[in-house]
Symmetry: C3
Subunit: 147 residues, 3 copies
């Protein structure tokens, strides 16, 4: 059924959709657990991370990892655990490049405290395969409060 | 393995499950982006949108779109960006009709402010295919605060 | 493509991934609806439910169901509706055992009130098949506020 007609719903097959979901789960769990070495490997060597909250994009895997580590260490010093939730994934595949538009929530929990929503964002990614793994080539994160 | 026995977990195959997830992502992104013309097309022409927050169901694609547009314009005038998150999808397929019960959160972010949970709901849908696309034939949204 | 190389992203196939997602949706909907008899059947007879919020693990399907029922009845008496959201699933399959690490949110809505985040947690599960159904053999829930 899925293969018979070109529709908005059937832009990707279930296997690719599943892989992208698992990729994001792993990527965000690595970030929130502070495993920056393995998190860095989920970006292309020449990957770019841009956001409407940043003055300029961060370019290159090493710089992306360093920026994330700095931010997470600062949060840990305040006793804050962040969780990055991605959901509502729209996925399009075009040759070797996968484009994803999804929602991303940042949830923050203080030690001995109550969790709260920190950021509501829209995340737009370009992913491709490198060495048998999905990696992010371009990410743009748009915070709703800054629109 | 999945095909061998009728279980609660294997009511639908992965391809259908994937299509429904992608359908919801697209539908909610259209709504939250204010693209009401394309959002309207995700409902059947004679679709019905009911809710425990509404005095009566809204019937017909055009009326559904008009109601959503009115609500979203009012929010935009207050500087509020809503994001509709659907998750925890239970999916059953019966002939041409797909029945989904899922959770739906409405998250609201004021300009220069902090996001908050606006509504926690349970969404029950009947979907079918029309012109090669999934469309909602019946939706019922039950807000937890009104139970 | 997915089958060609062993990568972090392709540890499970889409069908298994889909089944696990549907299992969790059903399991949490049963819990939140107060259907403890059917919820209990989503655990192995000798299942274990541990948490950093519990002094000791709860062992055995009957004890797990009794503990959930007691907690939910207490909430209902206060007019509170909880919704359990699981997301960001990492899934690994090893022989008959599936290991999942995911995020779990508890969202609470008072009657006539506004929903709020109650708990942000990481849930680590071991699942296996029993009688044609997925069941939880071991669950560990780690609340972020108690870390």
């Amino acid at each position: 059924m899925a293969q018979e007609s070109a529709t908005h719903d059937v832009i990707v097959n279930a296997q690719l959709h599943s892989e992208i979901q698992l990729f994001y789960a792993r990527q965000m769990q690595l970030l929130d657990a502070g495993d920056f070495d393995n998190w860095a490997l989920t970006f292309a060597v020449d990957g770019v991370f841009a956001a409407n909250a940043y003055p300029t994009p961060v370019a290159g895997r090493d710089n992306i990892a360093a920026a994330a580590q700095k931010a997470t260490v600062a949060l840990a010093e305040q006793g804050l655990q962040r969780r990055h939730w991605l959901g509502m994934l729209s996925v399009e595949s075009d040759g070797g490049v996968v484009r994803v538009t999804c929602y991303a929530l940042v949830i923050e929990t203080p030690r001995a405290g109550v969790p709260s929503l920190r950021h509501s964002t829209v995340c737009t990614d370009e992913l491709h395969r490198s060495g048998g793994e999905w990696v992010v080539r371009k990410r743009y994160v748009q915070r709703d409060d800054l629109n």
